[in-house]
Symmetry: C2
Subunit: 139 residues, 2 copies
């Protein structure tokens, strides 16, 4: 019932990207240093984020990473699911539930409702929101 460290790293890394000047490319080593995250592990996470299209990678000399979409079109839910896969509080709450038809599990609705409530928050918060929040806190 908790976010993995990988998921947290991904969000922190992407938030760092979102705070950089637009259209800039940032070194992975800079991100890992700034966020105090193991570089080799963060590399793995960013590879996953790249495949999910949330981040754009630039290989070779002067390479690095930039956001794959505008910051206000990337939600916290996007990032978590990009790294950890679809959110499912338990198997009963999955999109394609494997609860047998005959066994109409009474608890199923609770998982669905709880999950929807949580996902609603995560999907309603974008990287842009988080950056803005920071700016407001500083003013």
């Amino acid at each position: 019932m908790k976010l993995t460290r990988g998921g947290e790293y991904g969000i922190r890394g992407m938030l760092y990207l979102a705070m950089q000047p637009e259209a800039s490319v940032t070194l992975l080593s800079e991100i890992s240093t700034a966020q105090n995250i193991s570089e080799s592990y963060l590399a793995k996470i960013f590879q996953t984020l790249t495949k999910a299209g949330l981040v754009r990678s630039h290989r070779g000399f002067k390479g690095g990473y930039s956001l794959g979409r505008p910051a206000d079109e990337i939600t916290v839910k996007d990032i978590i699911e990009g790294i950890e896969g679809p959110i499912a509080l338990n198997h009963c709450a999955q999109k394609v539930s494997n609860c047998s038809e005959e066994y109409r599990c009474k608890i199923q609705n609770v998982w669905k409702d709880a999950q929807d409530a949580m996902v609603g928050v995560l999907d309603g918060t974008t990287l842009a929101d988080l950056v803005e929040e920071t700016a407001m806190g500083q003013s």
Copy 2:
């Protein structure tokens, strides 16, 4: 970001108890058979539930388990936390957060909000609700 199988077993087991005649004592073996759960594993879970006061154990001959409180005073959240410990989406969302003061994490609020939304649902649903739901479904 998901419920453990142990948590699910605990809820299914307690829901079974809640559907028994009031003040009756039910054999662990009956619960495990009815719910198709390994008896020795379920034993461990019920030991935990007993220590949490959610279930009352009756040792010795003619022993078994009964609910520790009325079914309408036991929430799904109670059971999950009884088995898995306090719900914390991540360390930032814990009661006593270990996020350092200086590092005012912008994401902290998101975890808090998402967790509160989820826990709200789990804490708003009692075993009695689930039993009732079943009865309504059958009518």
